[in-house]
């Protein structure tokens, strides 16, 4: 149903522009909140070194950066109680030994920092592979835009959630999620609404396709809502994290597949 909303919003925006809307960068005095711990990362179904990033929030006016937190203890355990310790490989980046997660298993992450333990759990869903990428064109009020669509077969009678990470020319440009509420059991071609109009021959685009659990979906859905994705603007709020103790961020056990396209 995502497409509908984006189209709806575009339609509304078009109306607004007809009525002479205008945008301007302004200065606004914002508070500087006390830094809050942010934990982001997870583990996949691939044999690899999985990463957990630990950082802190910082002031709005500061340059964007990864505000790393060193010296945290990061441990993942499975349902059987087997633990896997993540080692800090660079500031704030914690890496596991090589292993692969298993579908249907629940994993729990404990991050210990300054005497406090932050815990989150995530269950790795059954894998749905990404079959292919296709390009689609849409015209809105005289402008033709090109988008990429992720094609896959949604399994019937199972609640699935998907995450799409679009990398264009080496930079992550879109990080969006969807669910199968409206197309359960069907062949899906889900359009990623980042326009690819300026691509030239030789440019690469890559889509990482993750199957994620319900809580992780809700986290990313809410994160997207704050930036106006998926419909009219909502009152923003911190996305519902699966961590306790008020940590921000999300712990994600996911299955993954990837496709890359080189523009010809």
């Amino acid at each position: 149903m995502k497409k509908r909303d984006i189209l709806g919003v575009l339609g509304v925006l078009a109306v607004l522009f007809v009525l002479a809307g205008c945008e301007k960068v302004i200065n606004l005095k914002l508070d500087n909140a006390a830094p809050q711990l942010v934990i982001y990362g997870g583990l996949s179904d691939k044999v690899e070194n999985h990463l957990i990033m630990v950082s802190k929030t910082y002031d709005f006016t500061d340059p964007n950066r990864f505000n790393s937190v060193s010296g945290a203890k990061v441990i993942v355990r499975n349902e059987e109680g087997t633990t896997m310790e993540y080692v800090e490989v660079s500031k704030g980046v914690y890496q596991s030994p090589k292993f692969r997660g298993q579908s249907g298993k629940k994993y729990t992450l404990d991050v210990t920092y300054e005497g406090k333990i932050y815990t989150a759990s995530s269950t790795m869903p059954v894998k749905v592979p990404l079959d292919s990428l296709t390009f689609k064109d849409f015209s809105f009020f005289g402008e033709k835009n090109t988008y990429v669509a992720a094609n896959y077969n949604d399994p019937k009678d199972i609640q699935n959630q998907y995450r799409y990470i679009l990398t264009v020319k080496g930079k992550i440009e879109e990080d969006a999620v969807s669910e199968d509420r409206f197309d359960d059991g069907n062949k899906a071609a889900n359009v990623i609404f980042y326009d690819l109009n300026d691509l030239v021959r030789g440019d690469t685009i890559e889509v990482e396709f993750q199957c994620i659990d319900r809580n992780v979906y809700k986290y990313f859905y809410s994160l997207g809502q704050n930036s106006g994705a998926g419909g009219p603007p909502v009152a923003p709020a911190n996305p519902p994290s699966n961590f306790n103790n008020k940590a921000l961020g999300v712990f994600n056990a996911y299955s993954t597949s990837k496709k890359t396209v080189v523009i010809k």
């Binding site: 982001y40 849409f138 992550i172 009219p232």
Partner: protein
């Protein structure tokens, strides 16, 4: 609320007071007051009998009045603002039936907001009521020259705009869905066109607008914050006339006339916007294939069968259409029908029976290959109302009645073609029944004191069929129960006491107090910052309890200089229970389990409203100022601490000035200023997967920049005496081109992704407009 417990016995006592017997010979004088030119009935005209005592009443919504008096000789006067007062001597020695015809007094330049009689604002026990005189509304400047009842209302204290150019409004800290909007008694669920820029009310078709901010009489119920009662024109009973207007973005036409002269009449009024006509001029097929317009039609007919029986049939139909060629279609609209029967059982007992149908629906169509679909959603009401007005004695007039509304909400039916990836799904319909009974009395206790008190008993039943889930505090399903058609899932009963009193300090000043309880059984789910046509209605259920508001208000009313100036100060405090918010990340689209995502809490609102109006003369207008607070408290939001609701505005100021220069030119201006909305802005940021995310602390802890704007307009009337009367209206919206914030967004700087920036979006800069109106 303990306050209610104390009021109930008090109220019963008052009702008993009405039962006393009458010792003297009482006779009744009754009839209908109409306009001499059009035969339209006049609502709220003042009828006064002066003899050894003075007895007064106002005409009701059908122009009917009834007064009880003892035998004697009286002077009878009938007055209505904008009309010449009729005075005559009358001997009452039997029941008298007498109709009156008032003619317009063009010498008076009463402004838009009128009290019924010159000092009725002081003497009536009614508080928190404001009325708009439609005939004068075209003098107030508006966006794009489209005169609009709802936007003019927003210039009054205590009634605030829900946003730039938005016809949604907040009353005394209530949200937009807490306003009961009635068009000829039919509830209108979505009162806006074009996503809020225009209201569904075409002022050509409207006779009377009353808005109750508090102290609602007991015959109204169902919403917490306000009642907006809009009555359509009945149609000219004397002559056929046509009038209309041609504006920048829309045109209007109204035709009315007698069905049988002086017995019945009809009125049809329609308008349509033509923004899409400009799109069609484009040679580009991807532009000219788009649609964007709305239209609406108001129609009404009435017929007087005899002195005792009159029938009215009225309807409204409006639709908005938005489409992007071959990709997307979206349309929505309301339809209402009202059939009414006025019957006089006796000179004292007036009855009205209404059968009302109301429907709001929307359709979304997606034509894209592989995932085409269509969504249909609707809310449908059948409503039966029986109201009585009984003139019990010279000092008591009773109103009582019953009401039953059957709601059917179809949250969504999703259909798709065979080749679509979208599955056809139908979400379960929900049915509910609202029942209410009320009794109220307006009691002239003595020359100085008036009392209006009443009780409304309201019940709500959620009915099967369907599967109904219950949820725990985290929104997980704990059980599902199936109900058969007609089975009751949940019942709620509530008592809603209403009482208001006025005490006249001097002939031109009074003090008033009021207490009102209101219950709301149907709730609008909207988690966006503005209202959208796809917002979802839900009813009370096993999870959702009725919303409750208790309001106390006190006011001082004073008229100066022979009622030329009117001043009022009203204080209010309101407690609200079972208010609704959402968990963050709630997705309302096609959500069959929306109740799992709801949070319930309390609200409080308080403030002071000041209003000063110059009512007559070449120059008139008003100043309205409100200071207010609106807060909410939810255990699961903002760590359980009170936070400002989005409708909280600390200061709100409106200045309206109208100047009549000579016989043809009228100039007017509006200035508005209000504190920015309470909003949530980031107080920090962080990175998720290398992308910037924002950190929010206190809910609604920030304010958007203050909003202010000046509008001007000028109207040139055509030369009088011609068959075709015409006028030109020129307007400038936002004269000094203030860039008010429609939204404020936070994002990475596209030119330097290592920094973030704050972007303000302004909707309307300076906008000129011109409209040509005609009448023949």
């Amino acid at each position: 609320m303990p306050i209610t417990k104390r009021f109930v016995p008090l109220l019963l006592l008052f009702i008993c007071c009405c039962q006393f017997a009458f010792s003297q010979n009482k006779f009744t004088i009754s009839g209908i007051v109409t306009d001499s030119g059009t035969g339209e009935t006049l609502i709220g005209a003042s009828v006064k009998l002066t003899g050894s005592t003075t007895i007064g009443a106002g005409t009701n919504a059908y122009g009917f009045y009834s007064l009880s008096a003892t035998e004697g000789i009286y002077e009878l006067s009938i007055s209505f603002i904008g009309y010449k007062t009729v005075k005559q001597s009358i001997t009452i020695s039997r029941n008298v039936r007498q109709n009156f015809v008032l003619s317009e007094d063009n010498q008076l330049n009463e402004v838009v907001i009128s009290a019924e009689k010159k000092n009725d604002n002081v003497s009536s026990p009614q508080m928190g009521l404001q009325r708009i005189n439609i005939r004068e509304i075209n003098n107030v400047p508006v966006l794009l020259g489209e005169r609009d009842v709802l936007k003019t209302l927003q210039l009054l204290p205590g009634i605030k705009s829900a946003g730039e150019g938005n016809s949604g409004f907040y009353v005394r800290g209530g949200s937009t869905d807490q306003n009961l909007i009635l068009l000829d008694e039919a509830p209108v669920y979505n009162a806006s066109h074009l996503l809020g820029f225009f209201s569904t009310f075409n002022s050509d078709a409207i006779k009377d607008v009353s808005v109750y901010k508090g102290g609602m009489p007991a015959q109204y119920g169902g919403r917490l914050a306000s009642v907006l009662d809009i009555k359509m024109n009945d149609g000219n009973r004397k002559d056929y006339t046509a009038e209309g207007g041609i504006g920048l973005i829309s045109s209007r036409l109204k035709v009315e006339g007698p069905i049988v002269k002086d017995k019945g009449s009809f009125m049809i009024s329609a308008r349509r916007t033509y923004l899409d006509a400009f799109l069609a001029l484009s040679p580009d097929s991807s532009i000219n294939g788009n649609t964007l317009y709305f239209y609406d039609v108001n129609a009404k007919a009435n017929y007087q069968l005899n002195e005792k029986n009159t029938l009215y049939l009225s309807g409204y139909f409006g639709r908005d259409k938005l489409g992007i060629s071959e990709a997307f279609g979206f349309n929505w609209g309301n339809a209402t029908f009202t059939l009414r029967w006025n019957h006089l059982y006796s000179d004292r007992l007036f009855s009205n029976t209404s059968l009302i149908y109301s429907n709001y629906n929307y359709v979304i169509q997606n034509f894209m290959e592989d995932n085409d679909f269509q969504v249909n959603s609707s809310i449908k009401d059948f409503n039966l109302k029986q109201d009585f007005e009984y003139s019990l004695s010279s000092s008591h007039s009773l109103k009582f009645g019953v009401n039953a509304i059957h709601h059917t909400i179809a949250p969504g039916k999703l259909t798709a073609s065979e080749s679509s990836s979208v599955n056809a799904t139908t979400y379960e319909n929900r049915k509910g029944l609202e029942l209410a009974a009320y009794l109220s009395d307006e009691w002239a206790v003595n020359e100085k004191m008036n009392l209006a008190y009443g009780l409304r008993l309201s019940g709500f039943s959620l009915l099967g069929p369907g599967n109904f889930k219950t949820y725990d505090a985290d929104g997980n399903t704990t059980s599902t129960t199936s109900y058969k058609a007609g089975e009751v899932v949940e019942n709620y009963f509530n008592l809603e006491p209403r009482i208001s009193a006025s005490y006249q300090l001097t002939p031109s000043s009074s003090l008033k107090i009021a207490y009102t309880r209101n219950i709301q059984n149907i709730h609008l789910m909207s988690n966006s910052t503005s209202t959208s046509p796809t917002d979802l209605y839900i009813m009370n259920s096993n999870n959702v309890k009725p919303e409750i508001a208790d309001q106390i208000a006190a006011g001082y009313f004073r008229n100066f200089s022979d009622n030329n100036y009117e001043f009022s100060a009203e204080l209010y405090y309101k407690w609200m229970q079972n208010q609704i918010e959402y968990r963050s990340g709630t997705d309302l689209r096609g959500n069959g389990n929306v109740e799992a995502d709801l949070l319930f809490g309390d609200g409080r609102a308080y403030g002071i409203e000041l209003f000063l109006k110059k009512r007559f003369g070449k120059f008139n207008g008003w100043i309205g100022y409100t200071w207010s607070r609106t807060q909410r408290q939810f255990d699961a939001i903002n760590d359980g601490k009170w936070f400002y609701a989005k409708q909280d505005r600390t200061h709100d100021l409106s200045l309206v000035g109208i100047y009549k220069a000579g016989s043809r030119w009228t100039f007017s201006s509006v200035f508005v200023y209000n504190t920015g909305n309470a909003v949530t802005y980031p107080s920090g940021k962080y990175q998720i997967n290398g992308r910037t995310a924002f950190y929010y602390t206190e809910k609604n802890g920030y304010r958007t920049p203050a909003y202010h704007r000046l509008d001007l307009s000028a109207t040139l009337e055509g030369k009088p005496g011609r068959k075709l009367q015409s006028s030109w209206s020129f307007g400038i919206y936002n004269v000094y081109n203030r860039h008010n914030a429609f939204s404020i967004d936070f994002k990475d700087n596209p030119d330097d992704v290592s920094t973030t920036q704050v972007v303000r979006t302004t909707l309307f800069g300076i906008i000129p407009s011109v409209t040509w109106n005609f009448k023949f």
